[in-house]
Symmetry: C2
């Protein structure tokens, strides 16, 4: 794989100077073009063999381009806050906004490659991790992001020679403008072998790798900048074409959101959900016992760092808020956070739709409670036709991958759909409208959504069918009786917490973290 980048490719000073100015101006111009309406984020990953010029390349891109729209990210050893979340959390947080370039020195590859090269990862685990990276990149490229990955290469002899040079120089002056003494803990051969596997596994249509020889600085600089220029230019051309096509189609009105009706017929799980109720007395008794049980279990979960994520969805007026309130009353205010999801902010709009959920994940041992969630993508965004059909159909697998990342980290994830009948909803709307102190709760949106009940029903059934995974099944809650709904949710949570604690081999820790508190 790397042979073509071991031939000793060079570029004369004359040739480089000839190319230089043009490259530079093109790059800045392309950056401008990236900021057109409907712009996308660009992800440039630069990595490679030490001494092949990774840092110099990143510096060059940084200094040649307009700093307003490019930002460099390097991932050091994970910080405490990062270790307390799923591994991809820090990568998600770092993603560039639409119209800007995220320049990654080493990116999400460095850590893994290093681990593999020094033999700390089994072949199987390495392959699995690379697969997760490929999924991550596909999620981004599917959303329109442009991804370009560059491996800067040196042949074994050149590397050896360069390392000797660096060491001599370091020894001579104590310090010089190089970054390290070109350490390569796993050794050259093992690193190259691991890198080969890495490139092979993560070389995908939307996320190509480019291998560039780093023996000659001028050749390397000109080649990388040329690559970036071509990638940006091709991407912009393609996007313009797509826009034109979409415009044309829009005029002809040939695009119909037909999938809404024509989607594979799902079993109507909602209509078959039995509506049950509970007596006031039974409710009182069960409710307080469950609160106590959850309080105790979550206290233990906090001690051992077992994180919980809850997603609540349901019809308007189904009582999500009421359930969440009762639940939160069973928790220590230090240990949970409620995240109400409504219209995204403009920063959120400029990122992949999952970004806003990633950024909200709380630290280890906490409970993150989403009042509405990432399922908005396949519910309101689908039903109100805010996104084209292929976007929401794709979302099912994106959501499954997201939840797999969450659970893979040991996080307990529970998803609830609080169900009420259409008739019950109407009666609740009417009560709200008639009660002055409650009328603010009822908005035009509620009536609008109610009109689309059938569309929502289709969407919910499909959502449940597509995203009820073994790791994270949907819990359909019978909600016409509010008390019964609360009991169900608390029971499911209590059971799940106990099971997760057991699976984690809970042993009480008696040392308090801060030694004080109230």
């Amino acid at each position: 794989m790397f042979e073509p980048a071991e031939v000793g490719a060079k570029l004369s000073k004359h040739a480089f100077d000839h190319l230089k100015e043009g490259l530079r101006l093109d790059l800045v111009k392309l950056q401008q073009d990236l900021r057109e309406p409907g712009d996308v984020p660009v992800i440039l990953v630069v990595t490679g063999i030490p001494g092949a010029g990774v840092v110099d390349t990143v510096n060059l891109l940084n200094t040649w381009m307009d700093p307003r729209w490019i930002a460099t990210t390097v991932f050091d050893a994970p910080t405490e806050e990062e270790r307390e979340r799923p591994p991809f959390w820090r990568y998600w947080r770092s993603l560039p906004a639409a119209g800007t370039i995220g320049l990654y020195l080493g990116g999400w590859y460095e850590e893994t490659l290093h681990q593999a090269a020094v033999g700390r990862l089994s072949a199987k685990n390495y392959a699995q991790h690379l697969g997760r990276i490929a999924d991550f990149e596909r999620t981004l490229s599917d959303d329109g992001a442009l991804i370009v990955k560059i491996w800067l290469h040196l042949g074994a002899q050149v590397f050896k020679h360069r390392r000797k040079e660096h060491r001599d120089a370091d020894a001579l002056v104590g310090l010089r403008p190089t970054d390290t003494s070109l350490g390569l803990p796993g050794g050259y051969n093992r690193t190259i072998k691991a890198a080969g596997k890495m490139i092979e596994t993560t070389l995908k249509p939307g996320a190509p790798w480019h291998i560039v020889e780093g023996t000659d600085d001028r050749y390397r600089r000109a080649t990388v900048l040329g690559l970036v220029r071509t990638a940006l230019a091709d991407h912009l051309k393609l996007r313009r074409k797509q826009r034109k096509k979409a415009e044309k189609a829009r005029k002809k009105k040939t695009v119909e959101n037909t999938l809404i009706a024509a989607g594979t017929k799902q079993r109507n799980v909602l209509s078959t959900l039995p509506m049950r109720s509970v007596t006031h007395r039974a409710y009182q008794k069960k409710f307080h016992a469950l609160q106590r049980r959850i309080y105790d279990a979550h206290k233990k979960a906090r001690e051992i760092g077992l994180s919980t994520v809850l997603a609540f969805e349901g019809w308007d007026a189904a009582g999500k808020g009421g359930v969440i309130r009762r639940l939160s009353y069973a928790l220590n205010a230090r240990n949970y956070k409620i995240i109400p999801i409504s219209t995204p902010t403009d920063e959120e709009m400029a990122h992949h739709y999952l970004w806003r959920f990633w950024r909200q994940l709380q630290r280890a041992g906490r409970m993150t409670i989403f009042d509405r969630s990432w399922y908005g993508r396949v519910l309101v965004e689908r039903v109100d036709k805010l996104i084209p059909p292929d976007t929401w159909t794709r979302a099912y697998s994106e959501i499954n991958a997201f939840e797999k990342e969450l659970c893979g980290n040991g996080t307990l994830l529970l998803k609830f759909w609080i169900h009420i009948t259409r008739k019950e909803q109407l009666s609740r709307f009417e009560t709200r409208a008639d009660t002055p102190t409650k009328s603010w709760k009822l908005t035009a949106d509620d009536w609008h959504n109610r009109k689309k009940w059938n569309d929502y029903e289709t969407a919910v059934n499909e959502m449940v069918a597509q995203t009820s995974t073994e790791l994270a099944p949907w819990h359909l809650i019978s909600g016409n009786d509010k008390h019964y709904a609360r009991i169900q949710v608390l029971e499911i949570l209590a059971e799940a917490l106990d099971a997760a604690l057991k699976a984690h081999g809970y042993k009480a820790v008696t040392v308090s973290r801060s030694g004080r508190g109230r």
Copy 2:
């Protein structure tokens, strides 16, 4: 101070039930009203003696109010990322957006109070820290935020009794729904003494404390919720009055931004700045030597965790971008971040104007380079009358306080104004307009700002006079000769880095943090 909260105040169940529903509905209604145009953030701090019901109060507020617009924050022991920034960084990051309520369990008081109570802070340091908290809160309340702070109190006897109860209960069942065994490491008397000092020092018109007796749960709940209700209602009333008044004044056109012209006459430091230049040969020689020197110094700074913050301001086309590019080329891409400042995002608009700068501060040892900065407040926002005069006049002291927080943490802060003459600017604009590859750099804004040269000159002179502190003086850079400007900036930075390293008693550390890298 605490005696009135040691009388054993109680509320009957009957009286409480009578108040309850009204309180609750009022609170939710007030939350709605907070979301009017021109809304402000609300900061509620709840703290007090363990066992007085702090957690219960926070839970109650949380569950009674609309969760979409209230979020609870608790500060644990600082995480690694937090320890690597100025102490107030985590408080700033946590602030609620306009129209929402930030509910703080312990807030920025808990840590300090604890330290003082156990005797880990001298009286002087404690007073200083409390003063910084008062400054922080004043900055927020000046900006319109509503701050309410509640101290839940127990008399010594009640506390002792309650602690015994808790311990007995804990011993009996192993666990129960209380948060801690009411530990009070410094002891009751020392805690109360420190709390008295704390309340005394930070009790300010815009940030009042309320002391509430926590002996009886119903009394405490009703009193706190009543207090919050009154504070919100009064605040909304006041704001409506202010809005009406402003509207009236606007109609009468009685408000004139007269301060622009009538500000205290400052020495015109800009006009007296000599314009110097450097030969190409001298530039080449000096420039490379300085780059090398900065590279080495910053490598050492990274090792010992010495952070650097640079703020670049200057006329349009003064060459800020060019200076930053050359400077960044002297740095390892792992260790700096350029933050270009332009229009704020809507999340940023919903916070205090300093919030967006706080959130950008990089970890220990890194260099954060602001291309334009928080000085926009007293430059463009002042000149273009985007904010009223009292807002930007107040900004000087806010900025000085902000920079003091930065430097107090040992961070090296340098501020540069790159100066060119009006004539030189015109010539650069014309060159840009005539060069197709550069014309994108020239915008309508540039011509607009140029017309306001005199207003800007006034603003810059005043800015320099008001914010050149001993800790962070302004460096005025003679910029007609771009080469000369670059040399000056790099020289000042190199000197400052060397001095700071010396002050930190730099000793080379040979162990690399990650053990690899390139």
